[in-house]
Symmetry: C2
Subunit: 141 residues, 2 copies
DNA sequence: CTTGACCCCGTACTTCACTACAGGGTTTAT
DNA sequence: ATAAACCCTGTAGTGAAGTACGGGGTCAAG
């Protein structure tokens, strides 16, 4: 009784069966044994594994990061490796925040500039986009 | 002499010809007249138009946002519409920053937790991902 | 014994913004 | 005259993370 069909596993983890199959194809969830007729029969821990995946995803780890994280969880690696992966991701997130803040700053400036209703012929936002070359710098967006 | 072939336009705008053709297909750059033999002959303003696109892109506007912005620039709309588009984008950016900061906070916590080298059997990061349900909340990442 | 709920498979489509061909024609420079 | 450098077209592939679909097999209840 302690094996679950794909539908049960998916329901308990809060995903759909297609996604479950997708994670199997991607090597995130190991392929379970099958019945004679080909039905997958999962051990209940599978649900926890999926929850792990979802939690890591909510922290913005990519599926390939997660694949690594999982293989480390499976005992294949050191804590240092996990730490390193987290660190790298943290750095990426931090950088992304900085980029977005720069963008935010420009947009705020443009917006307030536009609110101060001057009698300009052209909208100041359009004008800035037409002229302000410094807007062109950086940002891997 | 004041018409430019696609290669010239692309070079002056700092993009490749494939990208230029792509922008034409996407309706961001108007289809220019052609020579007998089918070569595109662009008016020089096209270069400015592409620069406009690149600047807007560097602020994180999507191509479809930019299509709108351009049609407003082309005189089709009011300043209010530009303002509204900018405002919406600013809100989206701000929200994205908040999400990333939440993620950043959790990652920092996990990281420092891992640095404080305790004698845990499992890495605290892996443990958190295995257990901490609150990590599952929100974030459209 | 049949209906309905469940499961299987593989393939293809989605979004976004390109990028890369393949297979030609044209123009320019030597 | 010929080769290099340029231009044209259309289609297909990239990556990320799925979603959708078509067509079929299976299992439990009534």
């Amino acid at each position: 009784m302690h094996v679950l069909t794909s539908g049960k596993v998916a329901a308990r983890a809060g995903i759909g069966t297609e996604k479950l199959r997708f994670y199997e194809r991607e090597g995130l969830v190991p392929a379970p044994p099958r019945t004679e007729s080909g039905y997958r029969l999962y051990p209940p821990e599978t649900v926890d594994r999926i929850r792990f995946i979802l939690r890591a995803k909510s922290l913005g780890f990519s599926l390939s990061d997660i694949r690594e994280l999982l293989s480390l969880q499976d005992g294949a690696g050191s804590k240092a490796e996990v730490h390193q992966l987290t660190r790298a991701h943290l750095d990426a997130v931090t950088e992304r925040i900085r980029d977005l803040q720069r963008i935010q700053g420009v947009l705020q400036e443009l917006e307030s500039c536009c609110s101060r209703r001057g009698s300009a012929k052209t909208c100041p936002i359009i004008r800035a986009l037409s002229e302000r070359d410094e807007l062109l710098e950086g940002v891997s967006a």
